[in-house]
Symmetry: C2
Subunit: 338 residues, 2 copies
C-alpha cells in the first residue's frame, strides 16, 4: 500500500476532501467587530436563550453544525462521523451538543487548536476510505471560560495587556470525500512544545514556539516555501504572539509579515473593543475560518491558505502546581484547486 | 476508491494494523487484585515519586508508553502519531506526559471510552496510509479523580453501593501498519446515548444503553453474531451495568452471559476489595486490555475479542445544572488472525 505520509509529520491527502459546508454562530461582541458580515448568526443575547453559559455554548455549537449541514445540503443523519471539542472541563459543550444527533462521535481536546485537530482527523479518515461525510465543530464562550479559568464575571477582575479575550463563538465544517473544493490537501499535526512560559495571561507567548515548529515542519515536509500561500493564518497568538512568530522566522531569514495573519487579531478591533492582545478560545479560529476565510477563498480572495490553530494545553490546576504551559499547533493546507 | 465503511457506523480495516506492543502501570490496590500478574509495573507508592496526584498520573502514562515501545522494539521517535486522553480537566495527564516526547499529538476526550476512541482513530489513520506506527495511551488515578469529581480524600465520604472505584492505572498500545497480530480488524465508533440517568454514583446504568447500542450496531454492520467472539468485553459498566446489559440483550432473545465480561469486574476482587460496583476510569479498561486481555490473546486463550469501552460524558458542572449523563461506547474487534 502506498504511503501518504511525507517527511516527518505531514499527511498528504491522496484524494483531498472538500469542505462542503461551513458556518458559525457568535455573540454580540464578535458581531460588533470587523468580521460581522462573515458570521451566519449573531446573537444579541449571549445566553442564547439558555439557563447557563455552558448550555449557551452547547446550543451555539449545535446551531453552527446545523447551519453548516444546510449549506452542504445534508442532514445530520448523513454524517458518518462527528469530531468536536471545546475548552470546558470534560468537553461538555461538545458532548451535550452532539447528544441526540445520532452521529458516531469522537471527542477531542486540543484547547484552541481543536478545529485544526478535528479537520486533520476528519480529512485523514475520509481520505483513508472511511465514509463519505464528516462534521467538525469547536466552540468557546467568554462567560463559561472566564468562570472556569479565571474569575467569576461579577468579580470584575483587571486584565493584563498580554491577556486575550475568549471569543463567544462556534464554528462547524462539513467535509465530503468528493466535491468542488475548497480542498484540504495536507495536514501537519503538531508536536507539543513547551518553552517554560508559566503566565496564563500570556498564552500568545506560550503557543508561539509550537506554531513556529509546526509551520517550519510543514515547509520542510512539503518542500513548499511561505510564498506558496496567500495567507498563513495562526489560531490565536494575538498581538504579542504574532510579533514573536515573525521574530522567530526572521531569525531564519524568512519574512512572514506580509503573508501572516492571526484569527485573534482579525476577529476584534483591537483599538476599539478593549480586548488587549486579541481574541482566543476554540471558537475564535473556528468562527474566523468558517466565515471570513472560507468565504474569501470561495470569492477568490485567496487560493492557498495554511490554517494553523494553536492550543495551550495547561489547566488551572497544572499552573497552580508550578507547571509551565505546553503548546501545540496543527497546520492544515486548504486550496481552491487540488 | 473503495469504501471501507460497512453498514451505518463500522470501519472495516483493509489491512488490519497490528498491536505490536502493549503495557501498563498501576497502583497498589490494583496490584493487590486478581490481575496482578498481568501488570508490567505495580507501584507500592501511589504518588509515583511525584509531588501531586496529577503529576503521578502523568508519570504513569509516560511510563506505560515507554514500556509498550520497548516491547514493540521501537523508540518514541519512531511513532508517527500519538493519541492520548484522560479524565482530568483539560486532559493534563496526557499533554504533560506527551510533552518532551516529540511525537505529533492528538488529544482525546472520551471519558472511560478513551482507549477505544484512540485505538479506532489510530487504526483508521494507519490503515488509511498515514504512517507506520502510532501510540495510544489512556490513564486515570483514584486520587486525582476523587478530588476533581467527588470530594477531597481527607473528607472520607461514604460511597453508595452503585458507585465504582476509579482505577489508578495507565495503559499504552503501540500499533504498527504491518506485523504478526493481534490485529484490529473492525472499529464501530459509538453515538451518544442518554437515557436520563442523573446519578454520578451510578455511571454503570448511565453508560449501559450506549454499550448496548454500539454492540448491536457492530453485529448489524458486520453480520456477525455474538458467538463469533470468545469474549465481549465492556469498559467499566461494573456489576450493575453488566446486569442491565445482559437484560437489554435478553429482551432481544440474545444471551450474552457466557461471553460477556467487564473490565471493571475483572480488575478488582469485588468481595474483598471494598470497591462496591467495580472499577472505572480511563485507566481501567486501558490497563486490563494491555495486560490480561492482549497477553491472553497471545497465549491463545481467546482468538476474537470485541473490546467495548464506555464513557460517561458529563461533568460535575453539567450535573449541578440538572443535566443527565450522556454515554458513549466504541467497539474494537481484535483478532489473532486477519
Amino acid at each position: 500500500m502506498e504511503t501518504k505520509k511525507i517527511g516527518a509529520q505531514t499527511a498528504a491527502l491522496a484524494n483531498p476532501p472538500t469542505i462542503a459546508g461551513h458556518a458559525n454562530v457568535v455573540g454580540k461582541k464578535e458581531g460588533d467587530g470587523p468580521l460581522a458580515n462573515s458570521f451566519d448568526f449573531i446573537s444579541q443575547d449571549d445566553t442564547f436563550g439558555q439557563a447557563s453559559w455552558e448550555k449557551a455554548e452547547s446550543s451555539m455549537q449545535k446551531q453552527a453544525l446545523s447551519l453548516a449541514l444546510d449549506k452542504a445540503g445534508r442532514s445530520a443523519g448523513n454524517l458518518d462521523w462527528l469530531f468536536a471539542g471545546d475548552l470546558l472541563n470534560q468537553c461538555i459543550s461538545s458532548s451535550y451538543a452532539a447528544r441526540g444527533q445520532a452521529i458516531p462521535f469522537f471527542g477531542l481536546y486540543g484547547a484552541c487548536s481543536t478545529m485544526g485537530e478535528g479537520l486533520a482527523l476528519a480529512a485523514m479518515t475520509l481520505d483513508g476510505g472511511f465514509g463519505e461525510w464528516a462534521g467538525v465543530c469547536a466552540s468557546s464562550h467568554f462567560c463559561s471560560a472566564e468562570r472556569q479559568y479565571r474569575t467569576p464575571l461579577e468579580y470584575g477582575g483587571q486584565r493584563t495587556p498580554t491577556a486575550q479575550w475568549t471569543v463567544t463563538g462556534a464554528g462547524a465544517a462539513v467535509l465530503a470525500r468528493e466535491g468542488p473544493g475548497p480542498y484540504i490537501t495536507h495536514v501537519t499535526p503538531g508536536k507539543i512544545v513547551d518553552k517554560g512560559i508559566k503566565d496564563a495571561n500570556n498564552m500568545g507567548a506560550a503557543m508561539t514556539p509550537a506554531a513556529y515548529e509546526t509551520i517550519k515542519a510543514h515547509f520542510r515536509d512539503t518542500g513548499r516555501t511561505p510564498d506558496f500561500y496567500d495567507l498563513i493564518l495562526t489560531g490565536d497568538l494575538g498581538k504579542l504572539g504574532r510579533e514573536l512568530l515573525l521574530e522567530l522566522f526572521s531569525m531564519d531569514g524568512v519574512d512572514l509579515s506580509e503573508r501572516h495573519n492571526d484569527c485573534g487579531l482579525l476577529i476584534y478591533d483591537l483599538e476599539g473593543q478593549d480586548v488587549h492582545s486579541g481574541g482566543s478560545g476554540c471558537g475564535c479560529c473556528a468562527s474566523v475560518l468558517t466565515g471570513y476565510i472560507l468565504n474569501g477563498m470561495r470569492e477568490g480572495r485567496w487560493q492557498n491558505v495554511l490554517f494553523c490553530p494553536t492550543g495551550a494545553l495547561h489547566s488551572p490546576t497544572s499552573l497552580c502546581q508550578g507547571e509551565s504551559i505546553p503548546g501545540v499547533c496543527h497546520a492544515i493546507a486548504i486550496a481552491n484547486t487540488k
